[in-house]
C-alpha cells in the first residue's frame, strides 16, 4: 500500500476555512476588548469631570451674593460685583462657565442638557446630562444632579 505524500484540496480548504474562522473570531474579540477598554476609560473621565463640575459650581454658589436663572443660564453675582455664568452651548453640546477673571482653566464640560432651578431658600439645583463620545460606537453618558446651598444657606456649624 502506497503512503500519501500530501493533503487533498478538500482537506486544505477545510483547514483554511477553519483557520479563517478562528482568526476572525480572535480579531473580533480583540476589537471588542479595545472598544470596551475605551468605554471604561471614557466612563472614568466622565466621573472625574462630573466631580470637578460639582466642586467648581458649589464653590461659585457658596461665594455668591445672588443667584438667578436667566434664559436657561445660571447667573451667579459675586459679592465683589463680578458675575459667573453657566450656560449650555447647544451647537457644540457644551456646558460653559464664563467668568471675567476665570481661574478655572478648562471651563466647559460635554453636556447635552442642563436645567437650573433656584428655590426661595437659596438652594440651587442643576440637572444635567454629561456625555463623552469616542470613535466608533464608543459612547457614554451620565445624569448628574448638583445641589448647592446659596447665599442664605449657612446651617452648617463653623
Amino acid at each position: 500500500m502506497s503512503r500519501r505524500r500530501g493533503f487533498t484540496l478538500v482537506e486544505l480548504l477545510a483547514v483554511m476555512a477553519l483557520m479563517t474562522a478562528l482568526a476572525g473570531f480572535f480579531v473580533k474579540l480583540l476589537i471588542e476588548t479595545m472598544r470596551w477598554g475605551a468605554q471604561q476609560a471614557l466612563s472614568v473621565r466622565l466621573t472625574e469631570q462630573s466631580f470637578r463640575l460639582s466642586d467648581v459650581m458649589r464653590e461659585d454658589v457658596h461665594q455668591a451674593g445672588t443667584v438667578t436663572v436667566q434664559d436657561g443660564a445660571l447667573v451667579i453675582r459675586m459679592a465683589d460685583g463680578s458675575t459667573v455664568r453657566y450656560f449650555l452651548d447647544p451647537e457644540k453640546s457644551r456646558l460653559r462657565r464664563s467668568a471675567a477673571d476665570s481661574v478655572v482653566q478648562a471651563a466647559w464640560w460635554p453636556c447635552r442638557a442642563a436645567r437650573w432651578t433656584v428655590s426661595s431658600d437659596g438652594l440651587v439645583e442643576g440637572r444635567l446630562e454629561l456625555f463623552f463620545e469616542g470613535t466608533g460606537r464608543v459612547f457614554t453618558s451620565v445624569p448628574l444632579v448638583i445641589e448647592a446651598a446659596g447665599p442664605r444657606g449657612n446651617a452648617l456649624a463653623q
Partner: protein
C-alpha cells in the same frame, strides 16, 4: 508513520483554547463589574454631597434626635443606580440645644459582594427649642 492527530490530542487542544477564552470572558466581566461599582460609589458620594448642601440650605429637614429618615433620590439617579438609598439620622449635643450631629448614609445594595455603606457626619445648627 502517523498521518494525523489523535482524537485525544484534538480534545486537549480544544480544552486549552476554551479555558483561555473562558478566562478572558470572566476577567472582562469582573473588571466591568468593578468599574460599575466605582461609578455607583461615585454616585453615592455625589448624592451625599447634594444632601449635605440641602441641609445647609434647609436645616429644618434634619429629623428629630433619635429618628431616622429615608431621603428620596432624584428620579434619574434612582433609575440609573438601582439599589442606592439614602438615610439621615440625628443626635443631640447635651449642652448645645442649637446643634445636631447629623449622620448621612448612602447604602449600596450589591448582588455579589454584599451591601456597602458610605457615611458622612455633619454638625448642623438648628433652631434652639424654646422652653
Amino acid at each position: 508513520m502517523r498521518r494525523g492527530i489523535l482524537m485525544m490530542e484534538a480534545m486537549v487542544g480544544l480544552a486549552v483554547l476554551s479555558f483561555i477564552l473562558a478566562s478572558s470572558v470572566i476577567f472582562a466581566a469582573v473588571v466591568s463589574r468593578s468599574n460599575l461599582e466605582v461609578r455607583r460609589e461615585a454616585a453615592a458620594v455625589q448624592a451625599l454631597s447634594n444632601l449635605a448642601e440641602r441641609i445647609r440650605a434647609r436645616p429644618e429637614i434634619v429629623p428629630s434626635p433619635g429618628g431616622m429618615t429615608a431621603v428620596e433620590l432624584p428620579i434619574e439617579i434612582a433609575e440609573r443606580y438601582p439599589g442606592l438609598t439614602l438615610q439621615m439620622s440625628a443626635r443631640e449635643f447635651p449642652d448645645r440645644p442649637d446643634l445636631r450631629r447629623v449622620r448621612l448614609a448612602a447604602n449600596l445594595k450589591n448582588d455579589v459582594g454584599g451591601d456597602r455603606q458610605t457615611v458622612v457626619d455633619l454638625i448642623v445648627r438648628v433652631e434652639a427649642k424654646k422652653p
